[in-house]
Symmetry: C2
């Protein structure tokens, strides 16, 4: 079973294109978890428990754990161990480096942390992606078109009459081995998302940027079809409430987003 | 004093363009440090003690610490604290993300870890760099042209008749605020390094890729002049010997590289 097949099967089994971003911000955590030994892990565990049956992918963004220092890495490791194959844990890392360093990043993300998948940056080219293929069955989502206002500054520059992000989509299709590769395309650019889907019909897509960033969930799902994809929401789901009911409220927000995205079609 | 001025003053004071990469690989550490409580920190401390008088910049690459998990982050934090303003500690992180996440990375690198400078990836555009300006006096080296064989795949693509890496050099010059920005350009591409220097005469350059990666130190220094720059060597210096004399041998390798690079000119 390739990574792409595993992701597709999980989406079908849970009738969901949902990806929940696990981005711990100390000021935003519910007071009720702050007394726990490891508040970040306790929070993540409660969110996972409340949403697992409708969530094929969880996406911790490494930045939020790194901001907490060594303790953050321990919380992240515990979160990955807790999910333990019951969903895909996709580490949003956006790493990219050369040679020995790229091998060290692959070891850090897939070996030490034990992630099922990660995001990588394409600027350095194939050399920076290659070492991640040494971990069969793990997913590699390459950043293609991001959700931020200045995304076009470099990504939309025309290269031989083709915007760079589409060249990246094409290159990643060529680099892919055994269904390991996917692409990251922001929900805030639905036309560009549609163009990427047309260029790379078989690659799984990770679509961030709905909710707080302003992307429209329905439009994003329509642009990402047909094919395998998940749409991520972080703050809009996990911080829907800071009260004692935070997990139930997060589930309600997750259900609403899942319904907006629709189920995988036959 | 801006970051660029601080870097230039340190290079002049130490008559050196040397940057030493602190990239811990367990299998390469000298047996004599393995019995220490924190072998990675003990190794880094010995290298720093042996080279500080001729080294304006140390460059830990975060990948090698992340591969060691939470313990690696602690070793890195201790190394940064140990240098404590006596040289610039430049974290080679090549991060890049949007909005809140970019702010979390800036907090992680400049706040939690306490680095003097870091490397960032340009693919996401100005939004991913901007949050790092909130830390005055810290340096931001944006990846421009890397040292690896496939560097050209994206970086050398022509955009309006200009290769992308030169557009990045120009953009970073425009983004710069208060002398915080610099560029990363690999030593294995001396002609491209010269073109970047011509495009961005006032930006400090970080030049990796001599030694194990095959770049020529003298040619790199010639291409980076005139202006502020440091040339990095990691394995060629720190793993020059695995014997009990490892620190003295690292110093000898550092002196040889410093001499090959020459001193800052008036």
């Amino acid at each position: 079973v390739t990574f792409a097949q595993r992701l597709e099967a999980l989406c079908r089994q849970r009738a969901s294109h949902l990806c929940i971003g696990l981005d711990p911000v100390p000021e935003s955590l519910p007071p009720s978890v702050l007394t726990c030994d490891d508040p970040v892990f306790a929070f993540n565990r409660a969110i996972v428990d409340a949403t697992l049956d409708i969530t094929p992918v969880y996406k911790p963004n490494l930045a939020f754990y790194e901001a907490l220092g060594a303790a953050g890495w321990t919380s992240l490791r515990r979160t990955i161990e807790y999910v333990d194959g019951r969903a895909i844990v996709l580490g949003d890392a956006k790493r990219g480096d050369v040679g020995e360093t790229a091998r060290a990043y692959a070891r850090a993300l897939f070996g030490t942390l034990g992630l099922d998948a990660c995001t990588l940056n394409p600027y350095i080219g194939r050399d920076s992606i290659e070492p991640f293929f040494a971990y069969p069955g793990r997913g590699i989502f390459v950043v293609c078109h991001t959700s931020n206002p200045s995304a076009g500054e470099i990504q939309e520059q025309a290269v031989d009459g083709e915007p760079l992000y589409l060249r990246v989509a094409r290159l990643v299709g060529e680099w892919d081995r055994d269904g390991q590769c996917g692409l990251v395309v922001g929900a805030t650019y639905p036309a560009e998302l549609r163009a990427v889907r047309a260029m790379a019909p078989r690659l799984p897509l990770l679509v961030p940027g709905v909710g707080a960033q302003g992307g429209d969930a329905r439009a994003a799902a329509a642009a990402a079809r047909p094919g395998t994809f998940v749409v991520n929401s972080s703050r809009g789901v996990i911080y829907a409430s800071a009260g004692r009911d935070f997990a139930a409220t997060a589930r309600a927000a997750a259900v609403a987003l899942r319904d907006a995205l629709g189920a995988p079609t036959a």
